[in-house]
Amino acid sequence: MSKAVVATTSMAGCFGCHMSFLDIDERILDLIELVEFNKSPIDDIKHFTKQCDIGLLEGGCANSENVEVLKEFRKHCKILVSVGECALMGGLPAMRNGIPIKECIDEAYLNAPTTKNCNPDRILPNDDELPMLLDRVYPCHEIVKIDYFLPGCPPRADLIWNALYALVTGDELKLPYEVFKYD
């Protein structure tokens, strides 16, 4: 049987969920037996080269590039899984939701202690090449259909592993208390 093909990405996230994923320790050897990676920071493939079975999403959507990536994932993956608080709810980046976008941009480029006197021409990044900020940070499921959700900040390595294993093998997902508690 051919291996399941997995893609992963981090959008408006901190890569903490990917780090947690790598925290599966020696099971990384089983992982290589179990799946093949396509577009992912793990193997540094930048663009999809084929249709995938599973897409793991870290982070929500804060800018137009995030949206584009997310839509690519939806097109190329049979199953999409939101991994972690930011993908599920927007997470820390969503703290800016509710603050007018102008205030956010002014704070970042004009008024913050580190930029206050360093930007005399009051330049705001506006190159056409740059992604455009969205009005607020969106959770992934508000942009495309998401099939499964793994909560946590980050979700424990065991949770990510168990979920991926269950998806690939078709076995029942193991959810012991230790894997699913957050205190």
């Binding site: 941009i105 705001l124 990044p125 056409d128 969106y138 942009i143 495309v144």
Partner: protein
């Protein structure tokens, strides 16, 4: 501490439990509550300033900044919108030269939105400095603003002549109309003041016998939930406590309800006698009538009725000459919070705190006002008690249906010829109501039964009967004609109302209602998907985890209208077969940030 603050504190014996009255009085005197006032109150009551501040900030009508000379609060409830509220708002903005949420440059007029003010039968209506101005038209607004500029005092500002009935009396002088369209046997039939207590005295009725009598009558609470009144009284009578309290809930904040307004105006003695009966039955010596702020115009009138009762011996020591029965009543005003209609929130508010519902149990009958056993009854319930004591159980049971005895007051508003209060026996259908109130069945698209927290019912259910057995209601009936956009004007309005009025305590209420609103707006904007409709239905059990009825019913406007008017929702879905994309509008989402940084969106 200013002399105003110290005077008011002294009047209430420096009792932190009377904080609501203290704040209302200071605001009445100064027009707002300043930082200095808050510090003064906190010192005087031995509380933290944060505790004072949290009560002040909870209520809509407490102002923390100096207000204008004339403060206009224009109702923005769904019925007001149906009755042309937007035109009135425009007229106010045009004439005063300021926008809603602002004060005019000369400091003369401020404009604010407010939730339903209990005038759904005479909308559009506004509160100006606490007085009600109903049936507004563009022309009247022009006249009002002109008179404000002339400096006419609020008491003399008149949009109309005085209203009917007791509205015309010396103590009320209100421009509000009663609009009693149908008088029934219980509430609006003649009542000889004090006769219910005379009956208790002449029959030598014991408190237990009185409770038994109420039990025989089958009377159930008229607030909407329908709890048997006798059972509540019995629990309270048997509960341990050195003091007991009777509350009459006249907060009626449910949009579209205004029957208590009319009872308070026309039958205050019936209410107060009912409270005294409840006090006699459970062994309470103190009654509190909790009235919503919007009915502040009745304050002097209601006080005058109580004074009269004291002079007659109907209150005070040995009420009506009944040995060992002392009873006093005081009036507690709210300050604009829908959730205070919920009984435990009402108690919190009467204790001077934020109107946050309590966890139950313990129920108020065990631990209520100031920790003592407390009965809270609806205005109509207490009136029914007084009447059934006077006229007898058999008479009462002959009215209504098997499980729903007596009569019910309906507040009918919206697209009908004769909006107003109707007293009818239980067991009528919605079609009967439309016929009675002059609604045209051919052009009525929906009736909202029981206010926003009730059900949005379509013509195929107009034969259902209003009773505890079928469609239960606190009495609000809003009739919505086909010319209106049901989802935009009514359902969205109701959902926003719940968001504004949530006390914020339970996340299931605080967050869920917002999710409902956002999803409904997404559907209305054309970006919705069929799954959004199903998602909204599937969320509703989450709301049931909320502590009180507000959070538990905040999804009802959307969920009941999806159930009965799904086609209206589906009509907004452009791409019905799309399953994977959520209808996200990227052009809209990036527009603001591109403008701020000065670039053109490249999508």
């Amino acid at each position: 501490m200013s002399s105003v603050v110290s005077g008011v504190l002294q009047e209430y014996g420096n009792d932190a439990g009377r904080l609501m009255d203290i704040l209302l009085d200071i605001q009445a005197e100064n027009g707002y509550i300043s930082d200095e006032d808050i510090t003064g109150i906190a010192t005087g009551l031995d509380m933290s300033t944060a505790d004072v501040e949290q009560t002040v900030s909870f209520y809509h009508f407490f102002a923390r900044k100096p207000m204008a000379k004339y403060n206009v609060y224009l109702n923005n409830s769904a019925i007001a919108v149906l009755m042309g509220r937007e035109k009135i708002a425009e007229a106010f903005e045009r004439e005063s030269g300021c926008k809603f949420g602002e004060v005019s440059e000369d400091g003369l007029i401020s404009l604010e939105d407010c939730a339903d003010i209990g005038m759904a039968d005479q909308e559009p209506a506004a509160l100006i400095n606490g007085l009600v101005f109903p049936n507004l038209t563009g022309f009247l607004v022009k006249e009002l603003v002109r008179d404000m500029r002339k400096g006419v005092s609020v008491d003399e500002l008149r949009a109309h002549g005085l209203g009917d009935g007791m509205n015309n009396s010396q103590h009320l002088k209100a421009t509000v109309n009663n609009n009693i369209r149908k008088k029934g046997a219980v509430i609006f039939s003649e009542y000889q003041a004090g006769s219910a207590l005379d009956k208790v005295k002449s029959d030598r009725m014991s408190p237990e016998q009185l409770i038994e009598l109420v039990k025989q009558s089958g009377l159930r609470g008229r607030g909407g939930a329908g709890f048997p009144t006798a059972m509540k009284w019995d629990f309270c009578r048997k509960a341990q406590g050195e003091k007991k309290y009777i509350f009459c809930n006249a907060d009626e904040g449910e949009p579209g309800t205004f029957k208590d307004r009319v009872i308070l105006t026309e039958r205050p003695r019936l209410i107060f006698d009912g409270m005294a009966l409840a006090g006699y039955a459970v062994g309470a010596h103190k009654g509190i009538l909790y009235v919503r702020y919007e009915y502040m115009y009745m304050k002097h009138y209601l006080e005058s009725v109580l004074t009269e009762m004291r002079n007659e011996g109907a209150l005070g020591k040995k009420v009506n000459g009944i040995d060992g029965f002392d009873f006093e009543i005081r009036i507690q005003y709210g300050a604009g919070a829908y959730v205070c209609g919920e009984e435990s929130a009402l108690i919190e508010s009467a204790e001077g705190k934020r109107g946050e519902p309590r966890d139950r149990p313990p129920f108020p009958v065990e631990k209520g006002y100031r920790g003592m056993p407390t009965v809270i009854n609806n205005v109509e319930t207490l009136c029914s008690v007084a009447k059934l004591v006077t006229n007898g159980v058999e008479w009462f049971k002959s009215l209504g249906t098997g499980q729903s005895t007596g009569t019910k007051l309906l507040s009918i508003s919206g697209d009908v010829k004769y909006p107003g209060v109707y007293e009818v026996e239980w067991g009528f259908s919605i079609n009967d109501i439309l016929e009675m109130s002059g609604g045209d069945p051919a052009t009525v698209q929906a009736v909202q039964v029981g206010g926003p927290s009730g059900s949005c019912v379509g013509p195929n259910e107009f034969e259902r009967t209003i009773s505890y057995e079928d469609l239960s209601t606190g009495g609000s009936m809003m009739v919505i004609g086909e010319q209106h956009d049901l989802l935009q004007d009514v359902v969205l309005n109701f959902t926003e109302f719940f968001i504004d009025e949530s006390c914020g305590s339970c996340s299931t209420c605080r967050a869920l209602a917002v999710m409902y609103k956002k999803t409904l707006e997404k559907v209305l904007s054309g970006g919705g998907r069929r799954k959004d409709i199903d998602a909204m239905l599937s969320w509703s059990p989450i709301g049931k985890a909320s502590r009180c009825g507000l959070g538990q019913t905040a999804m009802n406007p959307i969920c009941t209208s999806i159930k009965n008017f799904r086609y209206l929702y589906e009509g907004h879905i452009k791409n019905a077969n799309e399953q994977y994309e959520g209808g996200f509008d990227i052009a809209k989402a990036v527009a603001d940030s591109c403008e701020v940084v000065g670039r053109r969106p490249n999508l």
